[in-house]
Every structure is written in C-alpha cells, then in structure tokens.
Subunit: 490 residues, 2 copies
C-alpha cells in the first residue's frame, strides 16, 4: 500500500490519507479483511505525526470502512453486497499444501538432521556437527586487500550479470590450481558453481533418471545420498576399507546392477576420513574404463592434508574422460561466498550449463571477482599452509581428548580433512546419546545419515574438529563424556 | 603436482626437482602420458630459473622417464611392463556422455536461445534480448556507502555460512517491503533465494511430479516453461487478453485437466507487458479457491510501474493461503548479486528449505548483508523512483523509433516492466529475420520460446528496452529495420 502525500496541497494531510485509503477500499484495491499498517507504522512510512494517521483512521472507522480489533489490528471492513452473498454461500476452504507435495519431497530429509543443524545457531551449543572451516582461520587481512584492489576497478562490474558457466578470469585461476592436482584442462572444461553441493545437484539432475542405480562408498556424505534419492535413484553402498572403496565388491555390483555412475570422495572421505590408496585409485579407474561407468569425484578436502604423500586425483588418472570432478572454496576460504567448480569434458560442461541457467542463472558476480582476486594475488598457497597447521593442531587435540576420556571409543586417524569417525560399543543407544548430548550442549552427526539405508544399528558418530575453537573442543568432549555417563547410569 | 624445493639444501635445485619428479613417476603418482607443466610454467611455480627446470627435464629424458612432443608438451613416458601388456590387450574406450543423459536433459533447451544469449557478450552486438536492468542505473554511490557501513562490522561475518532459509535481518527488511505490496507476513513466511529463478526451481522441484499438468499464461516466461518441462510436467497455455489471463478458459482447463498449479505473472507480464486488471485478479482468486488449485505468482517487475494505478498482488488478495509469491532484487538493484525471495505459508517454506539445502546450502552471505544494508539505509524507494523515470524515457524512445521505422509492426504499450511485445505481418519469416538481425548486430528473443509448443507460426518478437542505452536503442532499431528490408528484397 503506497500513499502519496503532498505537503504543498491545501488539503490537510489526514484528509489526503483518508481519501486515498477510502478510494482504495471502494475500488477494491484493498480487499475485505485486509490488515492496514498500524498507526505507528504508517506514520513512520509517511513521515507524519502519529496523530495525523490516527485522525484519518478514526474518520474511516466512522464511515464504516475500517475497523479495529485487539490482536488483529486495523482492517478493511467494507465490502459490497454481492460479496456478502458470495461469502455466505461459499464456505471458503484453506489449501492443504501437504497433500500436493511431489514424490521426492514426501521422503525428503529427516527431522533429526534439521534439529541438529538448527542447534548450531544457539550460542551455548558446541558444534561438532557441521563441515565448516574455523571462523578464526578466515583470511581477513587478505580479503581486506582484495576489497581494496577490487574497489579500484569499476564497481558496476561487480554487480552485473555473469556468464552462466562462470567468470573467465576465475576459470583461468582455477585452471592453474588444477595443475597442482595433476590435472591439465582448458577453461572450457571448467564451470563455476554455487559451492560443490550445487555441482553435485547439477550433475545429478543432468544424468539421473528415476530408478537409476548409483553406487556410493558406504558410509558417505549424507547430502549426496539424499540428493540422489530425491531424484528417484536407488543409492547402493559399496563398503570401504582403509585403502578406500572395495574394488572387488564394486565390480560385483557393477555387473549385477549396471549403475549410472559411481560417486566417490577419494581424499579424506566424509565421514570416515579414509584416503584412497594410489594402488586403489589405479584399480578403480581400470574397472570403470572396463565397464564404461563414469565417476563423480568429490574433492572438497583434498588440499587439507596434514601428513602423508599427496596423491593424484582420479581426474588426473583419467585419460579417457570418465571422471567429472567437483571441488570448492567452501572448506578452505569461505563457505559463505558459495563458490565451487566442476571439471568435466566440454560437452558435459555445456549440458550442465543449460541446467545451471534454469536453476539460478549464474553464480554471484561479486563472489567470483573476490575469489579470483584472492587467487591472483597468490594468497591461496600461504593460506592453505596456515589452515593445515591450525587444523592439524585441532585434530591432535581432539584425538588427545578422545583418548583421555573415552576408553570405549575406537576411531580412525585421518591424514587430512575435517572429521573423526568414532565407533561406540554395541551396547550404547545412539539415539539416546544424541538426545542427552544436545541437552548437555554438544552436537554431532550420528552415523545413520551416512548410510544408504537409514539404519541406527551402526554405532558411529562423526565429529568435526575444524569449526570449534580449542577450548570448545575440550569442553565439548567433556559434555559428550557426561552424556555417555548418564546413559551408563540408566 | 607439488614440488618442494629447499634452498638451504646442499643438493642442487635441478637435482631436487629431478628426484622428486622421478619418485612420483616410479611410484605411479604421475601416470603414464601425464603432461608435465612446461619449463616456463614450472619455473614460475617454483620461483627458479628456467634453465634449472630445463636441466631437470633433460636428465629425466635421458633416463627415459619423460619425453617431449611439439604440440603435446612434456609427458610421462615410463610405465612398467605389466601396464604395457595391459595396454596392448585392452583397447581403451572413451566414454560417450551423450548416451547417458537423463530424459529431462535430452529435451533441455534449444540451441537458438544459447546462440542469442551468447551474442550479448560481443561488444558490437546491440542486445534487446535480455531481461537485464540498465548498467547505468546501478546505484553506485549507495553501494559505496553500503560497503563503508559493512566494513565497520566484523568482516568475518560477511563470509560465514548463513541459515538455509536466509538471513533474519534481511527477512525483516523484506517483510517491510511486502507491506508496500499489501502483503502482511511474518519472517517465517519468507525464504531468501538466489534470485527468483531459484525460487521457481525450488517450488517446481517440491511440487511437480512427472506428468503433472501446469497451467501458464500463454505466452509466458520461457525459463518457467523449460523448467517445468525438464521436470516432466505437461505445460498447458491459457490465453491472455488485455486484462490478463482468460478466466473462462482457465476454468474450463481446470475442470478438464486438474492441474497441479497455475503459474502467473500479473504485473507487466513477460513477454507481453500486459497487467492483469483488478477485476480479473479477484475472479482468478475466486476460481482457484473454488477448485483448490494453488497459484505461483511471479512478480519480478511489479515495482517498475510507469503509469496507471498500483494494484494489489494476488498474494494480497489471498486469504486462504493459495498463493506462493516470488520476487527478486535482480530487476531493480543488481542481477549479479543473485538475491530474490519467496513468500508462502510457513509449512511450505519449511519444505522448500529442505530442497534449498540439497541444492546449494544457502544464498551468498555477503550479498544478503549488502542488500539488507541497502534496504535498511532507505535507499530502495528513491532508487525505484530513479529507475522508473529512466526506464519510462527508454520505453517511450523505443516506441517512438518503432512507430517511426515500422509501419508494419503492431505492439502493446505496457504500463511498466521491461519489454515491448511486437507483432509482425504473417508474411515475414521470423527465423530468417533473426538470422539477418544477428548478422546486422542486433538481437532479441523470437516468440516461439514463449509458447508452450515450440511453434514458429506466431509472429512476435520481444524487445527489451531497459538494458540498451538511448543511442543503442536508436541504432538497434535501425539495424532491425535494415534486416527487415533485406528480407523484403529477397
């Protein structure tokens, strides 16, 4: 509702207001029962005294056009007779949205996850749940310099539209970055996405038909399982050992199920932290080439290695175009900027772009410029070194606390990445533990989300060590200990 | 590939480089045929002389580990005997991605559209094709002040993750904005999206099942038609007249086809520019309530009115929760920031959030802060006034040029929005006209994209008047005239 008042007009302000609202009511531009702004709100909007609005409203009430109720506020009370007849004849019905959701949203997500994720925003909760970089590791000084540099170029350019497949200058920087990962590509093999989750979404939407089988490492990233399932795919798990995906089982399942593709996280796998061995990588590539099955390689954590040799990505071993590679700046620079990328054969990039256009046109222009400038200034390498050091200390602190406080827990020590994957004794009820933990002010993700079948029998939890501060790690582990003790005492 | 060199080491730099590459080749971390960085690139990466790298490469070549080809560069030439046998036995095959796209991407998009959109980036082309605001209207001074204000708060906060459904402060500002559109809602009824295209995508993915019928105004926004079709929906057009959607036909089609929902653009409809009359809005709401069919109301242009009375949105007339309302800052502030929003019943917002999380987690944090600060400082209203003035002049200029140059074209004069919808005589071959126009340096979107059936028989084109400058409008119209004349001369 917009009211135009003219202070030069001889007509008093309150009458101007009254007349315009009256006109809008008579012409039905304001419908019956429409709630008007409060006197205070309207006075503020129009920059007039509240008493002016009060006078206008009082006159409209006297004319029977509006009415006031405690709770409901001031609302339009006038309607013509046709409508009154209409109203008495037709019992208006509310729409029941729940009945019209489609198949995929009917089985979308578990309430527990929303509950876990929402508790993060509570300041008192210590969160080991997210896959989030440390806020204190944010490269503040570097970004201040990035902003200064960008402010020298045309501000308008930062707010204009971008190409669907991404800013070409940023692609050139990513091309250089990929050389560090043993992958030599052209910019036409690269597409910029709103984080690696969007990369996965675009790939899934482009390839997955309802009832397609997708093979994943089991356990694996819950966001991938849920996404594939909402698209109607049958997600089938392949077990992993300490060298990564079990290629013997994989080959058996390929023969049996003819999957559409394989989804793999070779580096510091989420949630287990396991790194696929070099030998296993070669074996995996050999199998997919033999059977003609593509791989979606998800590599958000590859740069965050604390120890051991760097290994080539699957994409680096991929001579015949079987691998679509996903990565992101979310885990190393900023989650909030939402910038990731896809590396794939050019014709696949072109196809993905068509979906990108329908999904959200393009990635935020300003973010792309900021990340591009960050890379161009050479801040990336030194920043990676810094966070490796910081996260290594956090990993070791959390391991120390685990070993000190929990004789009953087994865990895998990852060479990199964000997570500790912890196994509890069979006797522990993990549902109950989560409940107690949240009550005691610590959260994490229980293992059932990481399995293709929502099966609470597996007794693991995933702990993130990068987001919490050192002190929070210690306090959080004590809270977890306390929660476990409460269960023993039952 | 990362090589660590130690300048304090007694071992010569070139030997350090050689040894590390050799180790990587022997251990198969660098696979057979892997292309190494060029000497120049590696020298730059390691900050050493090119001659140092040259020496290392020469020795590796002498050992038979690498090789150089003109064109191909320097590549790994070593592999063990097992592999050689493997290679001769197995004829490696490339993956044919085209064969594995899913049903929806098989019929995704038309090549012509990509061609039209891509020509925009060519500096010499005058574009009447996009739905893009004028770059000169960008509120530069305001955003400089926004940046100064934001720089006073914690920089880290701008780069952290945001809630899936959006920043609460921005939601509060949008809540106020909605009051101007006669809609009173709680922040829990609002969700922030990456532009209104993403709003549409989330809604479609939450509700549409394969083979659902969706009714749309015909013609309508091509991005909606294509999106619904890729989800497997049957998109059926309802004709519009100068008062908007034909409610008589609508009711007939509802009875006949039982649609999942109706997609409507009531204000300055894309592409026709038609505004749905107040009476028609009431009739439409009555019909959907009678039949229990929800409406997706798309309102990207509503604020950009040049003349005539403001009308309430369908959402404002929606007392029983039948309308999901979509809007965006893309057409009024910045397309590049990618910020739009959805207004819907709270339980629908919650459901949409689950998809948002799987799609791309959340909208860029920095963009949300910037738009929020822009609104909070009160820049929005004055900016809207400014662009209304600017675009009104452009609309009238394009109309003047149309009337002067094209006696054979009929068009609709819109009260607001971005487009002129122009009808050509039946004798004109519009495919040929587009070809000539692009050759002559002007582009636009031909009508077939806006119809549910890709039917070149309809003789319209959509011209955008907000993006080009005044001079470009004049030159572009001359180029269009020239293209038409070339057709007459055939």
């Amino acid at each position: 509702m917009r009211i135009n008042i003219n202070r030069n007009d001889k007509v008093a302000l309150y009458i101007q207001i009254k007349n315009q609202i009256r006109d809008m009511i008579y012409s039905k531009r304001l419908p019956l029962d429409y709630v008007l702004p409060s006197e205070r709100e309207l006075a503020k909007m129009l920059k007039v005294n509240r008493s002016t609005v009060n006078k206008a409203y009082e006159e409209l009430k006297a004319e029977g056009l509006i009415n006031s109720d405690v709770g409901r506020g001031t609302y339009v009370a006038f309607c013509n007779e046709d409508e009154l007849i209409d109203k008495s004849n037709n019992c208006k019905k509310h729409l029941y949205w729940d009945e019209i959701y489609n198949e995929s949203s009917k089985n979308n997500y578990d309430d527990v996850m929303s509950k876990i994720m929402k508790t993060k925003d509570n300041g008192k909760m210590i969160s080991f749940a997210g896959g989030i970089p440390s806020p204190s590791s944010f490269p503040k000084d570097e970004f201040e310099r990035v902003q200064i540099n960008l402010s020298k170029s045309k501000l308008e350019d930062m707010f204009l539209h971008s190409p669907v497949d991404g800013n070409i200058e940023l692609k050139k920087e990513i091309k250089k970055l990929m050389l560090n990962r043993e992958v030599r590509v052209a910019t036409s093999n690269i597409m910029i996405t709103s984080g690696s989750q969007q990369g996965l979404d675009l790939v899934a939407r482009t390839f997955v038909n309802s009832n397609d089988v997708i093979l994943v490492e089991e356990p694996t990233f819950f966001g991938a399982i849920q996404l594939f399932q909402t698209l109607g795919a049958k997600v089938v798990g392949v077990p992993i050992d300490e060298a990564g995906i079990r290629v013997d089982v994989l080959e058996y399942l390929i023969n049996k199920l003819k999957p559409k593709f394989i989804y793999s996280i070779p580096n510091f796998q989420n949630p287990t932290g396991i790194t696929m061995s070099l030998e296993r990588r070669y074996e995996l590539m050999k199998i997919v080439e033999k059977h003609g099955i593509p791989i979606i390689e998800d590599d958000p954590y590859g740069e965050i290695r604390y120890e051991g040799d760097e290994l080539p990505s699957l994409k680096a071993l991929d001579k015949n175009g079987y691998v679509v590679y996903l990565s992101t700046f979310s885990k190393v620079i900023s989650l909030g900027l939402r910038v990731g990328w896809i590396v794939a054969p050019e014709r696949v990039i072109n196809k993905l772009s068509l979906f990108k256009q329908l999904t959200d046109l393009h990635v935020n222009t300003l973010s792309q410029h900021m990340i591009c400038e960050f890379l161009r200034q050479g801040y990336y390498e030194s920043h990676i070194k810094k966070i490796r050091k910081e996260y290594l200390l956090k990993r070791d602190l959390m391991i120390k606390e685990l070993e000190k406080n929990f004789k009953e827990i087994e865990f895998y020590k990852p060479q990199g990445g964000f997570y500790l994957w912890c196994k509890f004794p069979d006797s522990i009820d993990l549902n109950l533990l989560l409940e107690k933990s949240i009550k005691n002010g610590v959260n994490y993700i229980p293992s059932n989300f990481f399995f293709t079948k929502n099966d609470m029998k597996s007794k693991f939890i995933r702990l993130n060590f990068t987001y919490p501060g050192n002190e929070e790690i210690i306090i959080g582990m004590n809270r977890l200990r306390k929660s476990l003790d409460e269960i023993y005492r039952l």
